[in-house]
Symmetry: C2
Subunit: 126 residues, 2 copies
DNA sequence: ATTCTACTTGCAAATGATTTGCAATTGTGT
DNA sequence: ACACAATTGCAAATCATTTGCAAGTAGAAT
């Protein structure tokens, strides 16, 4: 199902800023920070609205977010893939599994972090 | 080498707050947020100092940090292991590889994020 | 043990990311 | 085109983190 239809199906309106964010994310090959999205959309939309839109898109599972160095980065889609981030300049690249070892050659001093999230027992019970 | 000696060897002083943070981290079995460290130390030390201490400890590789949902969590040591985080309450558990599948049984709706960090080509060249 | 000095801390204020309240605006069904 | 609820834009609040600076303290020298 097309992303806009997912929104519509759940009763959300198709608004200019939402379309703008979706269209922008569709073109990306790497995750964007909220600020980057704001700027790439030429500051035509309110930053707070972009935050709200991204949170909504995350809730309906059109996008997903990752915390990289104190900032959230957003992505379309659910296909699992990963990232490699420069410790100095913050440059981010996507890391589909089959490219992993090629990309890694371009970095030194490699470290990794794996974080799983789920819903814990306690939260499942109330 | 003992952690305090690592500091001393690099010319840093062994101060009350630094010892307090190190001692606290030594007792933990899970990563702590800065706020948690501040509270567990009974607010006896300045929050800004704790930030500075943790940043220092990270630089000299006594601790390492991970961004979990917009907040940094700190750990002693370099041994690689991972975390599972409740999406609702933020509860964090450590995930040594050999325990991975046991822990996962206590969570539902599991997703994962792998982030590698390194130093990229550009940063290596200047 | 006392003094000296540079490194550290504590406090307050700044910064950066994100959230929230609210009035004005705008999709969407009728 | 109308009406209403959902959504946006703006401003102000909040939360994590950083920074400037004066006062305090660890550790070397005396």
């Amino acid at each position: 199902m097309k992303n806009e239809n997912i929104l519509k199906a759940k009763g959300y309106k198709i608004t200019r800023p939402r379309v703008a964010v979706l269209d922008l994310l569709t073109k990306q090959t790497k995750p964007l920070s909220v600020k980057e999205i704001f700027v790439k959309l030429k500051r035509e939309h309110d930053l707070a609205s972009i935050y709200r839109i991204l949170k909504l898109l995350e809730e309906v599972e059109i996008t997903f977010a990752e915390a990289i160095g104190g900032e959230k980065y957003y992505h379309l889609g659910k296909d699992q893939h990963h990232h490699i981030v420069c410790q100095k300049c913050g440059h981010v690249e996507c890391l589909p599994c089959n490219h992993l070892f090629n990309k890694i050659k371009n970095f030194t001093n490699i470290k990794h972090q794996l974080t799983l999230t789920g819903v814990c027992n306690k939260c499942n019970n109330n």
